[in-house]
Amino acid sequence: MDVPFPTLLLNLGEKMPGIKLYIGIWLGLVVATIMEVVIRSLPGPASVFLTIILLIAGVKAIAISLYYQNLRYEGIRLATLPLAAIIGIVFLAVSAGLTITMGM
Amino acid sequence: MPQPIPNSTADWNNLFNLSAIIAVIAVVIVIGVMVFFAVKYREKKGQSKFIPQIGLSRSRAREAVIFASISIILLASLTVASYRLTPNARFPPPVSQSLVIDVTAYQWNFKFTYPNGAQTIGECYIPANKSIIFNVTSSDVMHNFGLMDFRVKIDAIPGRYNVIGVTTPSLDGNSQLNYTIRCYELCGSIHSYMMAPLTIMDPTVFNYWLANQTATNATLPGG
């Protein structure tokens, strides 16, 4: 518990990637958004849309939280907070979902 | 002549007594030990504050595991017992072998619709020695179709049909058996009065009554 913590990690929060990376990410996000819309306009079963589009959305969210919210450089310990919340939500979603689909 | 106890109630009582006994034993042990300690190790006058250490610095993993496993065994056995009973209520015998009654709860009464379309309000008549399936829903707020004499309950939820099944006992000597259906979910001001008598009759009498219902599709005066 009381291990001495490497001092070089202490100012990780301050470490930031270059400006180019941010703009690159932004371009990627915009492209992803347009892709979502394009995919929607393609013919095909709705369930496929749902999965693909939500996957893209998830990727976008992760990208934002990793780079814009700087989580990638904060280390996993801080990330556990949102992760815990997401796990809780997924749990609620699954249980609630079961009560719809298989409810008698 | 005393009213017979429905099977579901008998099973329920057995399970309840069993688990209640275990529970009481558990309470008695825990509290007994606690009170015993509290009395035995009470601080006496002029007693030195110095107490000999007995190895408390040691981790108590073993004891914890033992306690946990004991309770796991108890709970598991009770669980098995309880799941053996559960299906009686939730998964009744097929519709073909049973009388299906649609129950619509509303503020503040129950409406019973019989297979032949006959309706009664605020009172229910069912034959003895038969498996009955209540198909419960609600037309306004959330109610609860509670049949405590059979130890079963199911929520009456708008937009949703919930099934609860009971097997009626035989009359054994009584002309008819009288039970009460209550609402067990707060549903508004008159909740306290929301109940309906459940009458179990001899099957032939019941069929005659039901036939009459269809002939003159008269709904009985609501309770």
């Binding site: 932004w26 958004t33 949102p82 | -």
Partner: protein
């Protein structure tokens, strides 16, 4: 609880009391009589303005931990950032539950209007890109101030603010009137309910974010940030990006699927 009062006294500020009472009066009005709501709103706005003036929002920030405190396992994180992340976790839970509610009623109800026919996908996409861009502006302003570039900070914040405004204008000024004219009003059944409540709540978050960004701009001009002193920029940024993330999900859920 007396203990809270003790803390309150020792800090001798009436701002929390004023804000709380304002919110309370606001809710009172919301429930009973709308003019009261306005009164509450005025109190809140006044309090917020007061906080702008004396930068009290900074005083809300925590006391710095002294080096001889145990901070395992989060040594590298400031108290404010930790607190903000905890807050964001709760926000995740709120929006998550709302989205679950949406999915729940949607799956339960047999028929659901086809999104692309109800909603204007183009406007939705524009809004998405606007939000993304404002996020970019936000992070770039943080980047700028880390370099000590105050001008860049001001530009970044300004554009983020403007884009946020643009988002709200498009949503409330164009989309909702269009939908309402189509008879897709808030009272017209579950699809409308879910849409207006979720996007509405998101819009409220955007508005709150705008206030915060406005505060940052105000600070940037009055007291000023330096390359070492810019916790507020980073934390507001975190919140802003979170609002962005939420929209990343709301957009496909409502406009595409």
């Amino acid at each position: 609880m007396n203990d809270d009062e003790h803390t309150e006294k020792s800090k001798s500020s009436y701002m929390p009391l004023i804000i709380a009472s304002g919110v309370a009066i606001f809710l009172l009005g919301l429930a009973i009589y709308i003019p009261v709501l306005v009164a509450g709103l005025i109190i809140i706005v006044a309090a917020v303005y007061k906080m702008f003036k004396d930068g009290a929002a900074e005083k809300f920030s925590g006391t710095k931990e002294t080096p001889e405190e145990e901070t395992y396992p989060l040594e590298s994180v400031t108290n404010e950032k930790l607190g903000l992340w905890i807050f964001l976790a709760s926000e995740i839970l709120i929006f998550g539950s709302l989205i679950i509610a949406y999915a729940y009623v949607r799956v339960n109800s047999g028929s659901w209007p086809i999104a692309t026919q109800t909603h204007n996908v183009f406007l939705g996409m524009t809004n998405t890109i606007i939000l993304l861009t404002s996020s970019l502006a936000m992070i770039l302003s943080l980047y700028a101030i880390r370099q000590g570039n105050v001008k860049g900070l001001k530009i970044g914040l300004g554009s983020a603010f403007a884009l946020g405004i643009a988002f709200l204008v498009i949503k409330l000024g164009f989309e909702w009137p269009e939908l309402i004219s189509k008879g897709f009003t808030i009272t017209s059944g579950l699809p409308a309910s879910t849409y207006y409540v979720l996007t509405g709540l998101h819009a409220v978050h955007v508005a709150v974010g705008l206030v915060a960004v406005g505060y940052l701009i105000f600070r940037a001009y009055s007291l000023g940030f330096t390359s070492s002193k810019h916790i507020a920029v980073e934390n507001v940024g975190l919140y802003w990006h979170f609002v962005d993330i939420v929209w990343m999900f709301l957009f496909p859920l409502f406009y595409l699927i």
